[in-house]
């Protein structure tokens, strides 16, 4: 086993082991003092060690990997179908793994300070810290497994474990009445997509006769089958990556602790769907229909998310909807045939969204509320948080020279190219993604400015008298994350970096990737002025409205559309009416059928068995005479039967 494959194998294994060990720690009862502290300390050590080690491994992998590598072991051989366990490594894997591990480490460290007794908490928030930290480790391990997996079965395992961990972590805050429902919603909605994902994987595996990604990509699939498989896979991707119409779980998942939101939105879960499409992109390129569907979904998701973010009052919900919108950019880039641009934006988004959530957590920690109507004026009392947040929001809105500007520009450039010159998908898909993306820039700038103004400027509306910058354990992860959030975009100028994101390259026809270095991801053309102008427009409108009434909400600009935005087009209610209620009724019917018909048959046969047993037992009361009679009668009958029947058999 070469060094890179060993590193790649260890990458998910290390957090998995620390996570499983962490689950063995006692989930300390609230009253036990010293034992609880010991368990908490052990959980902290395990969690941070696991994340730090995986970060080291990922960096080492990035450093040592010079060519794509693969290692495979056969697990089960079902005749003509082989299931293997293996890793498939290239520089994209290493980059994404670094991002995942870095965010995981930041979250583990941040959680130490976030989940402990604050000055205004009457109730313990950390009494279940050991399982919490262990679940984060498992979550990280599952995402890293998805990242390095060399075959689809292993990928599916990581995919499903992530679903489970997200359920557990979103429901962590038991005091919150919304938490269990949100967790259940996240689990069920992603589950719906996962069914398609599973079927898609099965189709591909059976068609190729192997689940190895290399074999699946190399096999010449029938067109119809490939179309079906890609569309099925997209269902899973839409679930995990919160694409319309399966996006509804993501804003509700804000019920989880804030560090978990950072983890879900930045590094794991939502990134997984995009990553899998990029991983299997050679298949999607062959199916324009699937790319077109993806493009339409991306455009809708992008606009929907951005529009819904404008009128939210909850700080975290704004960020959640902004994730939905940014995911639209990611899938849009995939749809127009630019996986490298998608991965670029994935990485920058991981950096600035983790930063934003952790900074928002600091605000909530200090102010005791997440509602912007009760915040304001925090600029002077929380300067560190303010400047970090400013960097994050600037990157989100695409303000040059912060990272988001370059990655978003590369996405828009790819969409424009596809719209003008065509790509793997039809040209109208390019137009749709490009126009939606441009509109999204203005909307993003609008809600980012609104968030900044409502939280940090104006008169303080906070219920707590003295909000202050958070302690060091919260501050440092935030500060360190500002570095990639600000600077990662500059990497887009480097051709090497672009080559890392496109290890196999679009090198099939015109351009053999080995010969030429890849083009840099950042392109400056005249069209780059267009998003900048839109950015200024969006930010300027929000700012102008705020100037007129610093206490008011810039969202009043929307006028009669405001409730539409606040309720996100009533899609949740639509889902409730069209999906949840009918299914609930169907479930009630199925339950009745099960209880009356199936259970009836079962308990009926059980009762018959019970009754028969009773009868037979009664016969055995008078033992000796009946036992002797039984023996003699049995011998007689069996002897007779043997003579009459058995001889001829």
């Amino acid at each position: 086993m070469s060094t890179p494959t060993l590193l790649g194998t260890l990458l998910p294994a290390v957090p998995l082991v620390t996570g499983l060990l962490g689950l063995l720690l006692p989930p300390a009862s609230p009253q036990a003092g010293a034992a609880r502290q010991r368990a908490r300390r052990a959980a902290i050590t395990l969690g941070t060690t696991g994340a730090a080690l995986s970060l080291l491994l990922a960096v080492a992998l990035l450093a040592t990997l010079d060519a794509p590598a693969e290692a495979t072991r056969t697990w089960i051989d079902f005749g003509d179908l082989t299931v293997t366990l293996g890793v498939r490594l290239d520089s994209t894997v290493a980059l994404v793994a670094v991002a995942v591990a870095a965010v995981a480490l930041a979250v583990q460290v941040y959680s130490i300070g976030y989940l402990r007794n604050g000055p205004h908490d009457e109730v313990d928030v950390d009494h279940r810290y050991p399982p919490y930290a262990a679940q984060i480790s498992l979550f990280t391990a599952a995402m890293l497994l998805v990242v390095v997996a060399g075959d689809l079965i292993l990928l599916l395992v990581g995919w499903e474990v992530m679903g489970l961990c997200s359920y557990l972590l979103i429901a962590h805050e038991r005091r919150l009445p919304a938490a269990p429902g949100a967790a259940m919603k996240a689990f069920l909605v992603t589950r719906v997509g996962d069914v398609g994902f599973l079927l898609g994987i099965a189709l591909l595996g059976v068609s190729a006769g192997s689940f190895r990604i290399a074999d699946v990509l190399g096999h010449d699939h029938a067109t119809g089958l490939l179309t079906a498989a890609c569309l099925l896979l997209l269902a899973g991707v839409a679930g995990k990556s919160a694409q319309f119409p399966l996006h509804t779980w993501l804003p509700d998942a804000m019920a989880g602790p804030t560090p978990i939101s950072a983890l879900i939105h930045a590094a794991t879960m939502v990134a997984a769907g995009v990553y899998v499409v990029a991983r299997l992109f050679p298949l999607f390129v062959q199916v324009p229909v699937a790319l077109a569907v993806l493009g339409v979904l991306a455009s809708i998701t992008l606009l929907l998310g951005a529009f819904a973010a404008i009128a939210q009052d909850d700080l975290k919900r704004v960020l959640a909807w902004s994730t939905v919108s940014q995911l639209g950019y990611l899938t849009g880039a995939l749809a127009v045939g630019a996986p490298a641009a998608a991965l670029f934006h994935l990485l920058t988004h991981a950096a600035f969204k983790a930063l934003l959530f952790l900074a928002a957590g600091a605000v909530i920690h200090a102010a005791g509320t997440a509602l912007m109507s009760q915040l304001g004026g925090l600029r002077r009392t929380m300067p560190v948080t303010f400047w970090s947040m400013l960097v994050g929001l600037g990157a989100l809105a695409g303000l040059p020279p912060l990272s988001g500007f370059f990655s978003k520009d590369s996405v828009l450039y790819a969409a424009e190219e596809a719209a003008r010159h065509g790509g793997p998908a039809p040209a109208w898909v390019g137009w749709s993604v490009w126009l939606a993306g441009l509109a999204g820039v203005a909307l993003t700038a609008g809600y980012a400015t609104r968030l900044l103004l409502r939280t940090f400027f104006g008169a303080p509306r906070s219920p707590l008298p003295q909000p202050h910058d958070p302690p060091a354990v919260l501050r440092w992860p935030v500060l360190l994350l500002t570095v990639p959030a600000a600077l990662l975009g500059l990497a887009g100028f480097s051709g090497t970096f672009a080559g890392w994101l496109e290890p196999y390259g679009p090198a099939t026809r015109e351009r053999p990737a080995e010969l030429l270095p890849a083009d840099p991801l950042v392109h400056f053309g005249p069209t780059v002025l267009l998003p900048l102008a839109l950015l200024a427009l969006g930010a300027g409108l929000a700012w102008a409205r705020w100037r007129r009434d610093p206490a008011g909400d810039p969202a009043v600009l929307l006028g009669p559309l405001r409730p539409l935005s606040a309720r996100a087009f009533w899609l949740d209610d639509l889902q409730q009416t069209l999906v949840v209620r009918p299914i609930g009724r169907l479930a009630a019917g199925a339950r009745t059928a099960d209880e009356v018909v199936v259970d009836g048959a079962v308990t009926g046969s059980g009762r018959v068995a019970w009754w028969l047993g009773g009868g037979l037992a009664a016969w055995h009361r008078a033992t000796l005479p009946r036992a002797a009679a039984g023996v003699l009668a049995g011998a007689l009958l069996i002897g007779l039967a043997a003579v009459l029947i058995g001889g001829d058999a």
Partner: protein, 527 residues
């Protein structure tokens, strides 16, 4: 024909050792008259017998008492396996007997002597090469048990159990002897191998109804020993009336003896055309009736007795595949015999563990009591309860009792290979029925709804029936067993329970080990 035979004494060594144990125990009891010495002598003898059997069995097949090519005593791989199992199970039962013997109602010397004598029969049984040796060995195994069952002084249920067992068993032996005599009358042969050759060479022998009846009678007589329905009615009463260790012996060694005898005649001597259908019918009846009645049992030992009736059905089931032509090919037959032996080995292990756990969970010297008395036992004796749970789950055939799972899989696979899919289906349905009562007992062990009314500490309670009059009154047998003698010193109980714990642990560990490495047993069984 020379009238002087050369006797291969090495082949007889395990039997000598077993018989020597019996004599040694008798002498030890007479000369030293200390319970500890007597029991130790019996245990050492059992160990020596097992060692001797391994030693002799490792050296290839040995035959003696031969007339021409036919030998009356054949000590091969199967015989060695049986002898080792019988000796070790006897050792296990001796370990379980501590509490009973210290309770004082049972004479130690007689108890150990009878057990050793019975073991001698078991050791010789596996090597039997003709019908007479077979029946004599089986009777040597059974005869001491009549006395052992009724050995508790002044206990009415014990006496009733002994009489029932005696009468039914004697009737069964009569049937077997009658069958053997008729067989001799129609074929002129008694050696198992010769009978097999005769039936193969002269199929017209079976046209005589007398031969058919003779074959059926031999099989029927032997199935009484394994308590197959409809020859099973003695089992629940006898098990329940007998002291717990003796019940354990009955359901392990005695059952093993019946299976070995049955296999010997079916495998080597009698035509599958007749034994097959008879055994298939008995297997179906045994499984079904055993499981159905077990559903309604409220006394622990009766439940175990009925479950062991049902388990006998699973043992017979692979042999029932011989009923069909597809089941009579050489491969299918070998698989069927191996499956029956393997199932028996798994079963006796789990059964010993179950009885050991019941002994450990009950007050010293008490009987099995009712299921209600075992409720919540896990909180008082967690390890013993875990042992019982593992054994019962194994008997039910579920993981983590993998031994039981593999046993059932082996049986079903041999049935499917033999083309007897319908019989496999019956096995499966019965396995489901079995779950109902096994799991109910297991769940009861951890139940919390009846905390205090159970006799937990033997020093604190004046016997099992006094604490629980309602349950006891519903079952007359419980009243008849009467209160157990209770030792005064609670610390003594713990010390005394040690051999029981060792047996329980050993049986559980062995069952778990063979559960993870079932191939060991399957290979041994195929020899």
């Amino acid at each position: 024909m020379s009238m002087v035979q050369i006797v291969d004494n090495v082949a007889l060594l395990p039997a000598y050792l077993a018989a020597g144990t019996a004599v040694l125990v008798l002498l030890a009891d007479l000369l030293v008259a200390r319970a500890r010495v007597t029991v130790s002598a019996a245990a050492l003898g059992a160990l020596a017998t097992a060692t001797g059997a391994i030693f002799v069995g490792g050296g290839g097949e040995r035959r003696t008492f031969c007339v021409g090519a036919d030998c009356s005593y054949v000590f091969g791989g199967r015989a060695a396996l049986v002898a080792v199992l019988v000796a070790l199970l006897t050792l296990g039962v001796l370990g379980l007997s501590g509490p009973l013997l210290r309770a004082g109602a049972t004479p130690v010397g007689e108890y150990c002597f009878l057990l050793a004598a019975s073991m001698t029969g078991g050791v010789a049984l596996g090597a039997a090469g003709d019908l007479i040796t077979l029946i004599v060995a089986l009777e040597t195994l059974t005869l001491p048990l009549y006395v052992l069952v009724g050995l508790r002084r002044g206990n009415l249920a014990s006496i009733e159990a002994a009489v029932t067992f005696f009468v039914v068993s004697v009737v069964a032996t009569t049937l077997t002897l009658l069958g053997a005599a008729l067989l001799y009358a129609s074929t002129g042969a008694l050696h198992l191998g010769r009978l097999g050759v005769l039936f193969a060479e002269q199929p017209e022998l079976l046209d005589i109804p007398l031969t058919t009846v003779a074959v059926a009678l031999v099989v029927v007589g032997l199935t009484v020993k394994v308590a197959a329905v409809p020859f099973h009615a003695w089992a629940p009463t006898t098990y329940d009336g007998a002291p717990l260790p003796v019940a354990a012996y009955l359901s392990t060694v005695s059952k093993l003896g019946g299976v070995v005898a049955l296999l010997a005649v079916v495998q080597h001597a009698l035509p599958a055309r007749i034994t097959g259908p008879v055994l298939a019918l008995l297997a179906v009846l045994t499984m079904t009736v055993g499981n159905l009645v077990a559903l309604r049992q409220r006394r622990t030992v009766r439940l175990l007795a009925w479950s062991s009736v049902a388990q006998a059905g699973y043992i017979l089931a692979p042999l029932g595949a011989l009923a069909l032509a597809a089941g009579r090919t050489a491969d299918a037959r070998a698989a069927a015999y191996a499956a029956a032996v393997a199932y028996t080995v798994f079963f006796v292990l789990l059964e010993l563990a179950a009885f050991a756990a019941v002994v450990a969970l009950r007050p010293a010297g008490a009987d099995g009591g009712t299921l209600d008395e075992l409720r919540g036992a896990a909180r008082r004796r967690p390890w013993a309860a875990v042992g019982l749970a593992l054994a019962l789950v194994g008997l039910a055939g579920l993981p983590p009792g993998l031994a039981g799972l593999f046993a059932k899989v082996t049986v079903v696979r041999s049935l499917l290979d033999g083309g007897a899919g319908w019989l496999a289906l019956v096995v499966a349905v019965n396995a489901v029925l079995g779950l109902a009562y096994y799991l109910r007992v297991v769940a009861g062990l951890w139940s919390t709804d009846r905390p205090a009314a159970v006799p937990t500490d033997p020093a604190a309670v004046r016997g099992p029936t006094a604490a629980n009059p309602v349950v006891a009154a519903t079952d007359p047998a419980a009243v008849a067993t009467g209160p157990a003698v209770v030792p005064a010193d609670p610390t003594a109980v713990l010390v005394r329970a040690k051999p029981v714990a060792v047996v329980l642990a050993a049986a559980t560990v062995v069952a778990l080990v063979v559960g993870f490495a079932p191939q060991l047993v399957l290979d041994l069984a195929a020899r």
